[in-house]
């Protein structure tokens, strides 16, 4: 099950904890992976760890021209892009009343607009191949909201609506578009939280623990697999029961 031998996958934000594990999972299932991110060193380290079938493509997702070029570079490196995982994301938290236009716009640009552009960039090849998998990494916050994260929550909810619309349009071509919505996952970002903050968060999680990046990766692997061909427009919540939606 979940064999991706011969498939080529582009993963953004592969220098981060979740993105790195997504790339590892797809690679372990046989896929060739293109690792994208802003920082080259961790991407090169991951590529070295994976060995063969791994390409490094640095890209600044806040730069429109770089984003437009990424699908082409990935197709040139691997031959095609059969699986796209839009995992890269940033936060610029602030109280709503204090949030600047720049904080709003930069989060929407990187999280939502770059996802739109990358989806558009890979569709031509997927349409011709009559096969494609797009997995957009949303967030539980996109469904529940979170104080201080109006921009981030809007971008993550926007991904869900965008994914569903695209899913409608391309379903007849063998292309599925889904979201994975992580809850609280152990990453560099959540490592910064104090034990007190973590404790408070965990009281809201029925599973009683933080999730692991590998558990997000497993959800992505499923949605990227041939077996998930009848699943499209869905959001798979991976949050330990924190929000049962």
């Amino acid at each position: 099950m979940f064999d991706l031998t011969g498939k080529n996958a582009l993963v953004t934000g592969a220098s981060g904890g979740i993105g790195g594990d997504i790339a590892r999972a797809l690679h372990a299932a046989g896929a060739t992976v293109a690792l994208s991110g802003t920082r080259e060193a961790p991407l090169e380290a991951l590529a070295a760890e994976l060995g063969s079938r791994a390409h490094v493509l640095t890209c600044n997702l806040s730069d429109a021209a770089s984003v437009e070029a990424l699908p082409k570079a990935a197709a040139a490196a691997m031959g095609s892009v059969d699986v796209l995982v839009n995992n890269a994301g940033i936060t610029r938290d602030n109280l709503f009343m204090r949030m600047s236009d720049d904080e709003w716009a930069s989060v929407l640009e990187v999280n939502l607009t770059s996802t739109f552009r990358l989806c558009r960039g890979v569709l031509r090849g997927m349409m011709k191949a009559r096969w494609g998998r797009i997995v957009n990494i949303s967030s539980v916050v996109g469904a529940t909201g979170n104080p201080g994260q109006a921009n981030y929550a809007a971008s993550k909810a926007g991904m869900v609506g965008m994914s569903k619309s695209l899913a409608y349009e391309v379903a007849s071509r063998g292309i599925t578009v889904n979201c994975v919505a992580p809850g609280f996952i152990t990453t560099a970002m959540t490592e910064k939280l104090t034990d007190d903050q973590k404790g408070k968060i965990l009281t809201q999680v029925p599973a009683g623990r933080m999730g692991e990046a590998s558990e997000i990766a497993a959800a992505c692997l499923y949605l990227a697999s041939p077996e998930a061909g009848y699943v499209t427009g869905a959001t798979l919540h991976v949050n330990g029961g924190m929000a049962m939606i």
């Binding site: 031509r124 349409m127 349009e169 391309v170 071509r173």
Partner: protein, 77 residues
């Protein structure tokens, strides 16, 4: 019939799975040949590749019939 028209017709027949004799000058891709809106996007992509041309979106919207396609490509190729 010109070489361009023959090549365009071949693409339309293959892509939409229609009889060659249905692909006439005024045949509308959507109304007469059963294409959906995504098919028309795919046809334009196929024309671009076959003829090595770029068909901008605003021009693509004007290509509604087989005749439109041949006319546009003849002008662009």
């Amino acid at each position: 019939m010109s070489d361009i028209a023959d090549r365009v017709k071949k693409i339309v027949v293959e892509h939409l799975g229609v009889e060659e004799n249905k692909v006439i000058e005024n045949a509308s891709f959507i109304d007469d040949l059963g294409a959906d809106s995504l098919d028309t996007v795919e046809l334009v992509m196929a024309f671009e590749e076959e003829f090595g041309i770029e068909i901008p979106d605003d021009a693509a919207e004007t290509i509604q019939t087989f005749g439109d396609a041949v006319k546009f490509i003849t002008g662009a190729a």
